[in-house]
Protein backbone atom coordinates (compact mmCIF):
# COMPACT_ATOMS: atom_id res chain seq x y z
CA UNK A 1 0.00 0.00 0.00
CA UNK A 2 1.04 3.58 -0.43
CA UNK A 3 3.27 5.08 2.23
CA UNK A 4 0.77 7.50 3.67
CA UNK A 5 -1.78 4.74 4.12
CA UNK A 6 0.79 2.56 5.85
CA UNK A 7 1.76 5.22 8.36
CA UNK A 8 -1.73 6.59 8.82
CA UNK A 9 -1.01 10.10 7.55
CA UNK A 10 -3.96 12.30 6.70
CA UNK A 11 -3.52 14.05 3.36
CA UNK A 12 -4.92 17.55 2.84
CA UNK A 13 -8.07 18.23 0.87
CA UNK A 14 -7.75 17.87 -2.91
CA UNK A 15 -4.54 15.79 -2.90
CA UNK A 16 -4.00 13.37 -5.71
CA UNK A 17 -2.62 9.97 -4.87
CA UNK A 18 -0.30 8.47 -7.39
CA UNK A 19 2.86 6.49 -7.57
CA UNK A 20 4.75 8.70 -9.96
CA UNK A 21 6.35 12.11 -9.55
CA UNK A 22 5.29 14.89 -11.83
CA UNK A 23 8.19 16.98 -12.98
CA UNK A 24 7.75 20.05 -15.11
CA UNK A 25 10.76 20.36 -17.39
CA UNK A 26 9.49 23.77 -18.22
CA UNK A 27 9.85 26.16 -21.04
CA UNK A 28 12.74 27.94 -19.41
CA UNK A 29 15.29 25.35 -18.58
CA UNK A 30 19.02 25.35 -19.12
CA UNK A 31 18.97 21.94 -20.69
CA UNK A 32 16.15 22.41 -23.14
CA UNK A 33 17.69 24.26 -26.02
CA UNK A 34 14.68 26.14 -27.03
CA UNK A 35 11.36 26.73 -25.35
CA UNK A 36 9.70 23.36 -24.96
CA UNK A 37 7.70 22.20 -22.03
CA UNK A 38 7.53 18.58 -21.00
CA UNK A 39 5.45 17.57 -18.02
CA UNK A 40 7.04 14.26 -17.20
CA UNK A 41 5.70 11.52 -14.99
CA UNK A 42 8.66 9.88 -13.33
CA UNK A 43 8.88 6.65 -11.42
CA UNK A 44 11.99 7.43 -9.44
CA UNK A 45 14.44 8.23 -12.18
CA UNK A 46 12.60 6.48 -15.01
CA UNK A 47 10.29 8.33 -17.33
CA UNK A 48 6.84 6.78 -17.47
CA UNK A 49 5.16 9.26 -19.77
CA UNK A 50 5.44 12.84 -20.85
CA UNK A 51 3.04 15.48 -22.03
CA UNK A 52 4.50 17.98 -24.44
CA UNK A 53 3.58 21.60 -24.97
CA UNK A 54 4.94 23.58 -27.87
CA UNK A 55 4.04 26.93 -29.29
CA UNK A 56 5.93 29.11 -26.86
CA UNK A 57 7.54 30.88 -29.75
CA UNK A 58 4.76 30.72 -32.32
CA UNK A 59 5.31 33.68 -34.60
CA UNK A 60 2.67 32.99 -37.25
CA UNK A 61 5.05 32.79 -40.20
CA UNK A 62 2.42 31.34 -42.49
CA UNK A 63 -0.02 34.18 -41.93
CA UNK A 64 2.81 36.69 -42.17
CA UNK A 65 3.80 35.27 -45.54
CA UNK A 66 0.38 36.01 -46.98
CA UNK A 67 1.02 39.69 -46.45
CA UNK A 68 4.47 39.89 -47.99
CA UNK A 69 5.71 39.73 -51.60
CA UNK A 70 8.24 37.07 -52.44
CA UNK A 71 11.39 38.99 -51.59
CA UNK A 72 10.07 40.04 -48.22
CA UNK A 73 9.47 36.42 -47.26
CA UNK A 74 13.18 35.56 -47.39
CA UNK A 75 13.92 37.26 -44.03
CA UNK A 76 11.21 35.26 -42.33
CA UNK A 77 12.50 32.00 -43.76
CA UNK A 78 15.84 32.86 -42.11
CA UNK A 79 14.20 32.56 -38.77
CA UNK A 80 13.01 29.02 -39.26
CA UNK A 81 16.12 26.99 -38.54
CA UNK A 82 18.27 29.92 -37.50
CA UNK A 83 21.39 27.81 -37.01
CA UNK A 84 21.56 27.19 -40.75
CA UNK A 85 19.59 30.07 -42.20
CA UNK A 86 21.23 30.09 -45.66
CA UNK A 87 19.71 26.68 -46.37
CA UNK A 88 16.24 28.04 -45.64
CA UNK A 89 16.87 31.06 -47.84
CA UNK A 90 18.11 28.93 -50.71
CA UNK A 91 15.14 26.61 -50.34
CA UNK A 92 12.80 29.56 -50.60
CA UNK A 93 14.58 30.95 -53.65
CA UNK A 94 14.44 27.52 -55.28
CA UNK A 95 10.69 27.40 -54.62
CA UNK A 96 10.21 30.79 -56.23
CA UNK A 97 12.39 29.80 -59.16
CA UNK A 98 10.36 26.66 -59.66
CA UNK A 99 7.15 28.66 -59.67
CA UNK A 100 8.50 31.34 -61.98
CA UNK A 101 10.42 28.99 -64.25
CA UNK A 102 13.85 30.51 -63.71
CA UNK A 103 16.95 28.49 -64.60
CA UNK A 104 20.10 29.30 -62.67
CA UNK A 105 23.54 29.01 -64.30
CA UNK A 106 25.99 26.40 -63.03
CA UNK A 107 28.28 28.82 -61.27
CA UNK A 108 25.38 30.14 -59.22
CA UNK A 109 24.44 26.59 -58.28
CA UNK A 110 27.97 25.82 -57.14
CA UNK A 111 28.18 28.99 -55.08
CA UNK A 112 24.84 28.13 -53.51
CA UNK A 113 26.13 24.68 -52.66
CA UNK A 114 29.15 26.13 -50.91
CA UNK A 115 26.98 28.36 -48.78
CA UNK A 116 24.47 25.62 -48.00
CA UNK A 117 27.13 23.12 -46.99
CA UNK A 118 28.81 25.70 -44.77
CA UNK A 119 25.44 26.22 -43.11
CA UNK A 120 25.03 22.50 -42.66
CA UNK A 121 28.43 22.27 -40.99
CA UNK A 122 27.49 25.17 -38.72
CA UNK A 123 24.22 23.51 -37.72
CA UNK A 124 25.72 20.09 -37.07
CA UNK A 125 28.52 21.66 -35.05
CA UNK A 126 26.03 23.29 -32.72
CA UNK A 127 24.04 20.11 -32.36
CA UNK A 128 26.98 17.83 -31.70
CA UNK A 129 28.73 20.19 -29.33
CA UNK A 130 25.52 20.72 -27.36
CA UNK A 131 25.12 16.95 -27.04
CA UNK A 132 28.61 17.08 -25.57
CA UNK A 133 27.61 19.87 -23.17
CA UNK A 134 24.60 17.91 -22.02
CA UNK A 135 26.75 14.93 -21.17
CA UNK A 136 29.08 17.21 -19.26
CA UNK A 137 31.80 17.97 -21.78
CA UNK A 138 31.77 21.72 -22.20
CA UNK A 139 35.14 22.02 -23.94
CA UNK A 140 34.09 20.82 -27.37
CA UNK A 141 31.43 23.48 -27.62
CA UNK A 142 33.78 26.36 -26.85
CA UNK A 143 36.51 24.98 -29.05
CA UNK A 144 34.47 24.71 -32.24
CA UNK A 145 32.83 28.10 -31.63
CA UNK A 146 35.78 29.78 -33.27
CA UNK A 147 35.15 27.89 -36.50
CA UNK A 148 31.54 28.89 -36.43
CA UNK A 149 32.81 32.45 -36.16
CA UNK A 150 34.85 31.85 -39.31
CA UNK A 151 31.77 30.58 -41.11
CA UNK A 152 29.92 33.70 -39.94
CA UNK A 153 32.72 35.83 -41.38
CA UNK A 154 32.28 34.13 -44.74
CA UNK A 155 28.55 34.88 -44.68
CA UNK A 156 29.34 38.46 -43.78
CA UNK A 157 31.53 38.84 -46.83
CA UNK A 158 28.76 37.65 -49.09
CA UNK A 159 25.64 39.16 -47.65
CA UNK A 160 26.62 41.39 -44.74
CA UNK A 161 24.99 39.52 -41.91
CA UNK A 162 26.17 36.84 -39.53
CA UNK A 163 23.29 34.79 -38.39
CA UNK A 164 20.02 35.59 -40.10
CA UNK A 165 21.53 36.00 -43.50
CA UNK A 166 18.73 36.81 -45.98
CA UNK A 167 21.24 35.66 -48.55
CA UNK A 168 20.68 35.52 -52.27
CA UNK A 169 18.05 36.60 -54.72
CA UNK A 170 15.67 34.79 -57.02
CA UNK A 171 18.10 33.67 -59.71
CA UNK A 172 21.36 33.97 -57.84
CA UNK A 173 23.19 36.21 -55.43
CA UNK A 174 23.14 39.90 -54.79
CA UNK A 175 26.87 40.28 -55.42
CA UNK A 176 29.73 38.14 -56.58
CA UNK A 177 31.84 36.48 -53.92
CA UNK A 178 34.79 38.76 -53.25
CA UNK A 179 38.42 37.70 -53.02
CA UNK A 180 38.22 38.00 -49.27
CA UNK A 181 35.37 35.53 -49.17
CA UNK A 182 37.41 33.01 -51.10
CA UNK A 183 40.46 33.67 -48.94
CA UNK A 184 38.42 33.00 -45.84
CA UNK A 185 36.94 29.91 -47.43
CA UNK A 186 40.42 28.60 -48.15
CA UNK A 187 41.44 29.29 -44.58
CA UNK A 188 38.42 27.34 -43.42
CA UNK A 189 39.19 24.43 -45.72
CA UNK A 190 42.79 24.35 -44.52
CA UNK A 191 42.21 24.58 -40.82
CA UNK A 192 38.87 22.99 -40.16
CA UNK A 193 39.62 19.31 -40.93
CA UNK A 194 42.17 19.18 -38.13
CA UNK A 195 39.70 20.75 -35.70
CA UNK A 196 36.95 18.35 -36.69
CA UNK A 197 39.33 15.45 -36.14
CA UNK A 198 40.15 16.73 -32.67
CA UNK A 199 36.48 17.26 -31.86
CA UNK A 200 35.71 13.75 -33.06
CA UNK A 201 38.52 12.29 -30.95
CA UNK A 202 37.09 13.96 -27.88
CA UNK A 203 33.79 12.13 -28.19
CA UNK A 204 33.57 9.30 -30.66
CA UNK A 205 35.52 6.64 -28.75
CA UNK A 206 35.21 8.24 -25.36
CA UNK A 207 34.10 5.62 -22.84
CA UNK A 208 31.90 7.99 -20.84
CA UNK A 209 30.22 9.48 -23.88
CA UNK A 210 29.56 6.09 -25.37
CA UNK A 211 28.06 4.78 -22.16
CA UNK A 212 25.81 7.82 -21.90
CA UNK A 213 24.56 7.83 -25.44
CA UNK A 214 24.49 4.26 -26.69
CA UNK A 215 21.19 2.53 -26.27
CA UNK A 216 19.24 5.61 -25.28
CA UNK A 217 16.63 7.38 -27.33
CA UNK A 218 16.59 4.78 -30.05
CA UNK A 219 13.91 4.26 -32.64
CA UNK A 220 13.44 1.64 -35.33
CA UNK A 221 13.36 2.50 -39.00
CA UNK A 222 9.67 1.57 -39.44
CA UNK A 223 8.52 3.72 -36.54
CA UNK A 224 10.75 6.54 -37.72
CA UNK A 225 9.23 6.48 -41.20
CA UNK A 226 5.73 6.36 -39.77
CA UNK A 227 6.52 9.37 -37.61
CA UNK A 228 7.72 11.29 -40.64
CA UNK A 229 11.35 11.52 -39.57
CA UNK A 230 13.75 12.90 -42.13
CA UNK A 231 17.33 14.05 -42.09
CA UNK A 232 20.11 12.82 -39.79
CA UNK A 233 17.61 11.38 -37.31
CA UNK A 234 16.13 9.10 -39.97
CA UNK A 235 19.52 8.23 -41.39
CA UNK A 236 20.68 7.21 -37.93
CA UNK A 237 17.79 4.74 -37.84
CA UNK A 238 19.02 3.13 -41.02
CA UNK A 239 17.05 4.68 -43.89
CA UNK A 240 19.18 6.45 -46.45
CA UNK A 241 16.77 9.15 -47.51
CA UNK A 242 18.51 12.39 -48.38
CA UNK A 243 16.70 15.00 -50.45
CA UNK A 244 19.99 15.99 -52.09
CA UNK A 245 20.28 12.53 -53.59
CA UNK A 246 16.62 11.69 -54.18
CA UNK A 247 15.48 14.94 -55.75
CA UNK A 248 18.67 16.83 -56.51
CA UNK A 249 18.36 20.58 -56.61
CA UNK A 250 20.93 23.24 -57.39
CA UNK A 251 23.21 20.83 -59.28
CA UNK A 252 23.87 18.44 -56.40
CA UNK A 253 23.95 15.63 -58.94
CA UNK A 254 27.35 16.89 -60.16
CA UNK A 255 28.95 16.08 -56.84
CA UNK A 256 30.39 12.95 -55.39
CA UNK A 257 29.39 12.31 -51.80
CA UNK A 258 28.07 9.50 -49.66
CA UNK A 259 25.13 9.53 -47.30
CA UNK A 260 26.13 8.16 -43.89
CA UNK A 261 23.61 5.80 -42.32
CA UNK A 262 23.40 4.46 -38.77
CA UNK A 263 21.94 1.29 -37.35
CA UNK A 264 19.90 1.68 -34.21
CA UNK A 265 18.85 5.30 -34.30
CA UNK A 266 20.02 5.98 -30.77
CA UNK A 267 21.81 9.11 -29.58
CA UNK A 268 25.24 7.76 -30.38
CA UNK A 269 24.28 6.93 -33.95
CA UNK A 270 22.81 10.40 -34.43
CA UNK A 271 26.04 11.93 -33.17
CA UNK A 272 28.14 9.81 -35.51
CA UNK A 273 25.86 10.43 -38.50
CA UNK A 274 26.08 14.18 -38.02
CA UNK A 275 29.84 13.93 -37.65
CA UNK A 276 30.17 11.91 -40.83
CA UNK A 277 27.91 14.36 -42.64
CA UNK A 278 30.24 17.17 -41.68
CA UNK A 279 33.10 15.35 -43.36
CA UNK A 280 30.94 14.84 -46.44
CA UNK A 281 29.99 18.51 -46.47
CA UNK A 282 33.67 19.44 -46.33
CA UNK A 283 34.34 17.25 -49.31
CA UNK A 284 31.43 18.79 -51.23
CA UNK A 285 32.73 22.29 -50.49
CA UNK A 286 36.17 21.35 -51.74
CA UNK A 287 34.77 19.92 -54.95
CA UNK A 288 32.56 22.95 -55.48
CA UNK A 289 35.46 25.31 -54.87
CA UNK A 290 37.55 23.49 -57.46
CA UNK A 291 34.74 23.57 -59.98
CA UNK A 292 34.32 27.30 -59.44
CA UNK A 293 37.97 27.91 -60.10
CA UNK A 294 37.56 26.23 -63.48
CA UNK A 295 35.28 28.99 -64.73
CA UNK A 296 37.40 31.48 -66.67
CA UNK A 297 36.87 34.87 -68.20
CA UNK A 298 33.33 36.13 -68.45
CA UNK A 299 31.91 32.93 -66.96
CA UNK A 300 33.76 33.63 -63.77
CA UNK A 301 31.77 36.84 -63.28
CA UNK A 302 28.35 35.18 -63.46
CA UNK A 303 26.51 35.34 -60.16
CA UNK A 304 22.88 35.49 -61.16
CA UNK A 305 20.52 34.31 -63.86
CA UNK A 306 19.40 36.69 -66.55
CA UNK A 307 15.86 37.29 -65.33
CA UNK A 308 15.32 41.01 -65.01
CA UNK A 309 11.64 40.50 -64.14
CA UNK A 310 12.45 38.81 -60.88
CA UNK A 311 16.03 39.65 -60.04
CA UNK A 312 16.46 42.90 -58.15
CA UNK A 313 19.14 44.82 -60.06
CA UNK A 314 22.35 46.14 -58.52
CA UNK A 315 22.02 49.45 -56.77
CA UNK A 316 24.73 51.03 -58.94
CA UNK A 317 22.64 50.22 -62.00
CA UNK A 318 19.41 51.37 -60.40
CA UNK A 319 20.92 54.80 -59.80
CA UNK A 320 22.45 55.13 -63.25
CA UNK A 321 20.55 53.06 -65.83
CA UNK A 322 16.93 53.63 -66.83
CA UNK A 323 16.04 50.01 -67.48
CA UNK A 324 17.33 48.85 -64.13
CA UNK A 325 15.34 51.58 -62.42
CA UNK A 326 12.16 50.51 -64.16
CA UNK A 327 12.66 46.86 -63.29
CA UNK A 328 13.46 47.74 -59.69
CA UNK A 329 10.27 49.77 -59.43
CA UNK A 330 8.17 47.07 -61.04
CA UNK A 331 9.48 44.30 -58.82
CA UNK A 332 9.10 46.27 -55.59
CA UNK A 333 5.64 47.55 -56.45
CA UNK A 334 4.46 44.15 -57.59
CA UNK A 335 3.75 45.03 -61.23
CA UNK A 336 5.45 41.86 -62.44
CA UNK A 337 3.23 39.00 -63.60
CA UNK A 338 3.15 36.12 -61.21
CA UNK A 339 2.02 32.80 -62.61
CA UNK A 340 -0.86 31.00 -60.91
CA UNK A 341 0.00 27.60 -59.58
CA UNK A 342 0.96 25.35 -56.72
CA UNK A 343 4.47 24.20 -56.13
CA UNK A 344 6.14 22.06 -53.51
CA UNK A 345 9.91 22.25 -53.22
CA UNK A 346 11.97 20.36 -50.68
CA UNK A 347 15.55 20.95 -49.63
CA UNK A 348 17.74 19.03 -47.24
CA UNK A 349 17.90 21.30 -44.22
CA UNK A 350 20.04 20.71 -41.17
CA UNK A 351 17.25 18.63 -39.68
CA UNK A 352 15.78 16.96 -42.68
CA UNK A 353 13.38 17.70 -45.46
CA UNK A 354 12.39 21.33 -45.28
CA UNK A 355 9.49 21.76 -47.64
CA UNK A 356 7.82 24.86 -49.01
CA UNK A 357 4.27 24.52 -50.33
CA UNK A 358 3.45 27.68 -52.20
CA UNK A 359 0.09 28.45 -53.76
CA UNK A 360 0.08 31.53 -55.92
CA UNK A 361 -3.08 33.08 -57.30
CA UNK A 362 -1.34 35.57 -59.56
CA UNK A 363 -1.30 38.27 -56.92
CA UNK A 364 1.64 40.09 -55.44
CA UNK A 365 1.80 37.96 -52.32
CA UNK A 366 1.34 34.20 -52.00
CA UNK A 367 -2.19 32.95 -51.49
CA UNK A 368 -0.91 30.31 -49.13
CA UNK A 369 2.57 29.38 -48.01
CA UNK A 370 3.08 26.39 -45.80
CA UNK A 371 6.41 25.30 -44.39
CA UNK A 372 6.94 21.60 -43.91
CA UNK A 373 9.12 21.83 -40.84
CA UNK A 374 11.07 18.67 -40.01
CA UNK A 375 11.50 19.48 -36.30
CA UNK A 376 7.77 19.86 -35.73
CA UNK A 377 7.09 16.50 -37.28
CA UNK A 378 9.69 14.42 -35.55
CA UNK A 379 9.29 16.00 -32.13
CA UNK A 380 6.02 14.08 -31.86
CA UNK A 381 8.05 10.91 -31.42
CA UNK A 382 9.85 12.24 -28.34
CA UNK A 383 7.65 10.50 -25.73
CA UNK A 384 8.22 7.21 -27.47
CA UNK A 385 11.97 7.79 -27.58
CA UNK A 386 12.35 8.47 -23.88
CA UNK A 387 9.81 5.98 -22.56
CA UNK A 388 11.35 3.83 -19.87
CA UNK A 389 14.64 5.68 -19.97
CA UNK A 390 16.14 7.85 -17.30
CA UNK A 391 15.62 11.55 -16.90
CA UNK A 392 19.19 12.48 -17.80
CA UNK A 393 18.94 10.41 -20.95
CA UNK A 394 15.74 12.21 -21.83
CA UNK A 395 17.67 15.48 -21.73
CA UNK A 396 20.45 14.12 -23.94
CA UNK A 397 17.86 12.73 -26.36
CA UNK A 398 16.22 16.09 -26.68
CA UNK A 399 19.45 17.79 -27.61
CA UNK A 400 20.59 15.06 -29.95
CA UNK A 401 17.36 15.42 -31.93
CA UNK A 402 18.50 18.95 -32.80
CA UNK A 403 15.25 20.68 -31.98
CA UNK A 404 15.30 24.29 -33.04
CA UNK A 405 12.41 26.17 -31.47
CA UNK A 406 12.08 28.62 -34.32
CA UNK A 407 11.50 25.87 -36.81
CA UNK A 408 9.24 23.89 -34.54
CA UNK A 409 6.76 26.63 -33.85
CA UNK A 410 7.01 28.72 -36.98
Amino acid sequence: MLAHQQHNIKLPEGSIEKETTTLNVGPTHPATHGVFQNIMELDGERVVSTEQTVGYIHRAFEKLAERRPLYQITPITDRLNYCSSPINNMGWHLTCEKLLGVQTPKRVDYLRIIIMELARISDHLICNSIVGVDTGAYTGFLYVMQYRELIYEIYEEVCGSRLTTNIGRIGGFERNFSNTAFTKLEKFLNEYPKVLKEFENLFARNRIFMDRTQGTGGISAERALNYGFTGPNLRAAGVDYDVRVHSPYSSYEDFNFTVPVGKTGDNYDRFLVRNAEMWQSLSIIEQAYQKIQEFKGADAEVYHANVPEYYLPKKEDVYTKMEALIWHFKIIMGEVDMPKGEVYQAVEGGNGELGFYLISDGGRTPFRLHFRRPCFIYYQAYPELIQGGMLSDAIVTMSSLNLIAGELDA
Partner: protein
Protein backbone atom coordinates in the same frame (compact mmCIF):
# COMPACT_ATOMS: atom_id res chain seq x y z
CA UNK B 1 36.15 38.99 -58.58
CA UNK B 2 35.64 42.43 -57.08
CA UNK B 3 37.68 44.18 -54.46
CA UNK B 4 41.02 42.80 -53.25
CA UNK B 5 41.75 42.79 -49.53
CA UNK B 6 42.68 46.32 -48.53
CA UNK B 7 42.75 46.39 -44.76
CA UNK B 8 45.16 44.99 -42.22
CA UNK B 9 47.58 43.76 -44.88
CA UNK B 10 50.62 44.86 -42.83
CA UNK B 11 49.45 44.57 -39.28
CA UNK B 12 51.13 46.86 -36.80
CA UNK B 13 52.35 45.11 -33.67
CA UNK B 14 50.44 46.21 -30.59
CA UNK B 15 52.03 48.79 -28.38
CA UNK B 16 50.81 47.89 -24.97
CA UNK B 17 52.84 50.49 -23.11
CA UNK B 18 50.55 53.30 -24.20
CA UNK B 19 47.41 51.35 -24.79
CA UNK B 20 46.46 50.12 -21.36
CA UNK B 21 43.82 52.18 -19.63
CA UNK B 22 43.11 52.02 -15.98
CA UNK B 23 39.83 52.74 -14.37
CA UNK B 24 39.73 55.65 -12.01
CA UNK B 25 38.96 55.17 -8.39
CA UNK B 26 35.62 56.55 -7.21
CA UNK B 27 35.61 60.09 -5.91
CA UNK B 28 36.54 60.32 -2.28
CA UNK B 29 38.87 61.59 0.32
CA UNK B 30 42.05 59.67 0.94
CA UNK B 31 44.84 59.88 3.42
CA UNK B 32 47.60 57.71 4.82
CA UNK B 33 46.21 54.21 4.84
CA UNK B 34 42.57 55.09 4.34
CA UNK B 35 40.17 56.07 1.62
CA UNK B 36 36.65 57.30 2.20
CA UNK B 37 33.97 57.39 -0.37
CA UNK B 38 30.24 56.96 -0.66
CA UNK B 39 28.88 53.53 0.15
CA UNK B 40 26.75 53.50 -3.00
CA UNK B 41 29.88 54.01 -5.14
CA UNK B 42 31.67 51.07 -3.62
CA UNK B 43 28.62 48.87 -3.72
CA UNK B 44 27.98 49.90 -7.31
CA UNK B 45 31.55 49.16 -8.29
CA UNK B 46 31.41 45.73 -6.76
CA UNK B 47 28.04 44.91 -8.26
CA UNK B 48 28.72 46.10 -11.75
CA UNK B 49 31.83 44.01 -12.19
CA UNK B 50 30.23 40.80 -11.07
CA UNK B 51 26.81 40.67 -12.62
CA UNK B 52 25.37 37.18 -12.85
CA UNK B 53 23.14 37.08 -15.91
CA UNK B 54 20.19 34.79 -16.52
CA UNK B 55 20.08 34.11 -20.24
CA UNK B 56 16.45 33.81 -21.20
CA UNK B 57 17.21 32.75 -24.75
CA UNK B 58 14.25 31.83 -26.87
CA UNK B 59 15.35 32.17 -30.47
CA UNK B 60 17.93 33.53 -32.89
CA UNK B 61 19.29 36.15 -30.51
CA UNK B 62 20.14 33.26 -28.22
CA UNK B 63 22.59 31.96 -30.79
CA UNK B 64 24.26 35.36 -30.97
CA UNK B 65 24.41 35.27 -27.18
CA UNK B 66 26.20 31.95 -27.42
CA UNK B 67 28.67 33.62 -29.75
CA UNK B 68 29.04 36.47 -27.23
CA UNK B 69 29.80 34.00 -24.48
CA UNK B 70 32.37 32.29 -26.69
CA UNK B 71 36.01 33.24 -26.60
CA UNK B 72 35.92 35.58 -29.59
CA UNK B 73 33.66 38.16 -27.98
CA UNK B 74 33.94 36.95 -24.41
CA UNK B 75 31.30 38.21 -22.04
CA UNK B 76 33.25 36.74 -19.15
CA UNK B 77 35.78 39.57 -19.08
CA UNK B 78 32.98 41.84 -17.86
CA UNK B 79 32.57 39.70 -14.80
CA UNK B 80 29.78 37.49 -16.09
CA UNK B 81 31.68 34.25 -16.14
CA UNK B 82 28.95 32.47 -14.27
CA UNK B 83 25.63 32.46 -16.00
CA UNK B 84 22.87 31.06 -13.86
CA UNK B 85 19.54 29.64 -14.71
CA UNK B 86 17.98 30.01 -11.36
CA UNK B 87 16.21 33.36 -11.06
CA UNK B 88 16.84 33.48 -7.33
CA UNK B 89 20.57 33.68 -7.84
CA UNK B 90 20.82 36.06 -10.76
CA UNK B 91 20.98 39.81 -11.11
CA UNK B 92 20.37 40.44 -14.77
CA UNK B 93 17.58 38.95 -16.83
CA UNK B 94 18.74 38.94 -20.44
CA UNK B 95 15.70 38.35 -22.59
CA UNK B 96 16.92 37.28 -26.00
CA UNK B 97 14.49 36.35 -28.68
CA UNK B 98 10.84 36.61 -29.50
CA UNK B 99 8.43 36.35 -26.62
CA UNK B 100 5.08 35.01 -27.75
CA UNK B 101 1.88 35.65 -25.86
CA UNK B 102 2.04 32.08 -24.62
CA UNK B 103 5.46 32.74 -23.13
CA UNK B 104 4.54 36.08 -21.50
CA UNK B 105 3.27 34.64 -18.21
CA UNK B 106 6.33 32.41 -17.98
CA UNK B 107 8.61 35.42 -18.40
CA UNK B 108 6.69 37.30 -15.76
CA UNK B 109 6.99 34.40 -13.34
CA UNK B 110 10.74 34.29 -13.85
CA UNK B 111 11.00 38.03 -13.29
CA UNK B 112 8.91 37.84 -10.13
CA UNK B 113 11.14 35.16 -8.73
CA UNK B 114 14.25 37.27 -9.05
CA UNK B 115 15.48 38.93 -5.90
CA UNK B 116 16.19 42.67 -5.70
CA UNK B 117 18.32 44.30 -7.06
CA UNK B 118 17.46 43.05 -10.52
CA UNK B 119 17.89 44.47 -13.95
CA UNK B 120 16.41 43.52 -17.30
CA UNK B 121 17.98 43.85 -20.72
CA UNK B 122 15.89 43.28 -23.82
CA UNK B 123 18.21 41.95 -26.50
CA UNK B 124 17.02 42.07 -30.04
CA UNK B 125 14.20 43.69 -31.90
CA UNK B 126 11.64 41.06 -30.94
CA UNK B 127 12.16 41.48 -27.22
CA UNK B 128 12.22 45.27 -27.52
CA UNK B 129 9.13 45.80 -29.62
CA UNK B 130 7.98 42.66 -31.33
CA UNK B 131 10.50 43.02 -34.15
CA UNK B 132 9.45 41.94 -37.61
CA UNK B 133 6.67 39.82 -36.13
CA UNK B 134 3.77 42.22 -35.91
CA UNK B 135 1.34 39.33 -35.54
CA UNK B 136 -1.47 38.18 -33.31
CA UNK B 137 0.64 35.72 -31.39
CA UNK B 138 3.74 37.76 -30.53
CA UNK B 139 4.04 40.06 -27.55
CA UNK B 140 4.98 43.45 -28.96
CA UNK B 141 7.89 44.02 -26.65
CA UNK B 142 8.54 42.55 -23.24
CA UNK B 143 7.88 45.91 -21.63
CA UNK B 144 4.24 44.98 -21.87
CA UNK B 145 4.80 42.57 -19.00
CA UNK B 146 8.00 43.51 -17.15
CA UNK B 147 9.97 46.73 -16.65
CA UNK B 148 13.06 46.92 -18.84
CA UNK B 149 16.29 48.82 -18.22
CA UNK B 150 18.21 48.59 -21.48
CA UNK B 151 17.04 47.78 -24.99
CA UNK B 152 19.50 46.45 -27.53
CA UNK B 153 18.14 46.75 -31.07
CA UNK B 154 19.22 44.50 -33.91
CA UNK B 155 18.01 41.39 -35.59
CA UNK B 156 20.04 39.77 -34.21
CA UNK B 157 22.32 42.39 -32.66
CA UNK B 158 25.97 41.76 -33.28
CA UNK B 159 27.87 40.47 -30.25
CA UNK B 160 29.52 43.88 -30.00
CA UNK B 161 26.07 45.41 -29.67
CA UNK B 162 25.12 42.98 -26.93
CA UNK B 163 28.33 43.87 -25.13
CA UNK B 164 27.52 47.54 -25.55
CA UNK B 165 24.12 46.98 -24.00
CA UNK B 166 25.77 45.06 -21.21
CA UNK B 167 28.15 47.93 -20.55
CA UNK B 168 25.21 50.29 -20.32
CA UNK B 169 23.71 47.99 -17.74
CA UNK B 170 27.01 48.18 -15.91
CA UNK B 171 26.77 51.96 -15.93
CA UNK B 172 23.27 51.78 -14.53
CA UNK B 173 24.34 49.34 -11.85
CA UNK B 174 27.37 51.38 -10.90
CA UNK B 175 25.47 54.62 -10.48
CA UNK B 176 22.36 53.30 -8.78
CA UNK B 177 21.46 54.76 -5.46
CA UNK B 178 21.21 52.24 -2.63
CA UNK B 179 17.78 53.45 -1.72
CA UNK B 180 16.32 53.13 -5.18
CA UNK B 181 14.60 49.81 -4.65
CA UNK B 182 12.69 51.12 -1.64
CA UNK B 183 11.76 54.45 -3.17
CA UNK B 184 8.23 55.55 -4.06
CA UNK B 185 9.20 56.00 -7.67
CA UNK B 186 10.30 52.41 -8.05
CA UNK B 187 7.26 51.09 -6.24
CA UNK B 188 5.03 53.09 -8.57
CA UNK B 189 6.88 51.62 -11.56
CA UNK B 190 6.32 48.09 -10.36
CA UNK B 191 2.71 48.84 -9.56
CA UNK B 192 2.12 49.99 -13.10
CA UNK B 193 3.05 46.47 -14.16
CA UNK B 194 0.87 44.92 -11.49
CA UNK B 195 3.85 43.67 -9.49
CA UNK B 196 3.80 44.21 -5.75
Amino acid sequence: MARPVRFNINPIPANTADAISTVEAPQGYSGEGFFTTKLSDVVGLARKNSIWPLPFATSCCGIEFMATMGSHYDLARFGSERVGFSPRQCDLLMVMGTIAKKMGPVLRQVYLQMAEPRWVIAVGACASSGGIFDTYSVLQGIDQVIPVDVYVPGCPPRPEAILDGFMKIQDLVGQESIRRRNSEHYKALLNSYGIQ
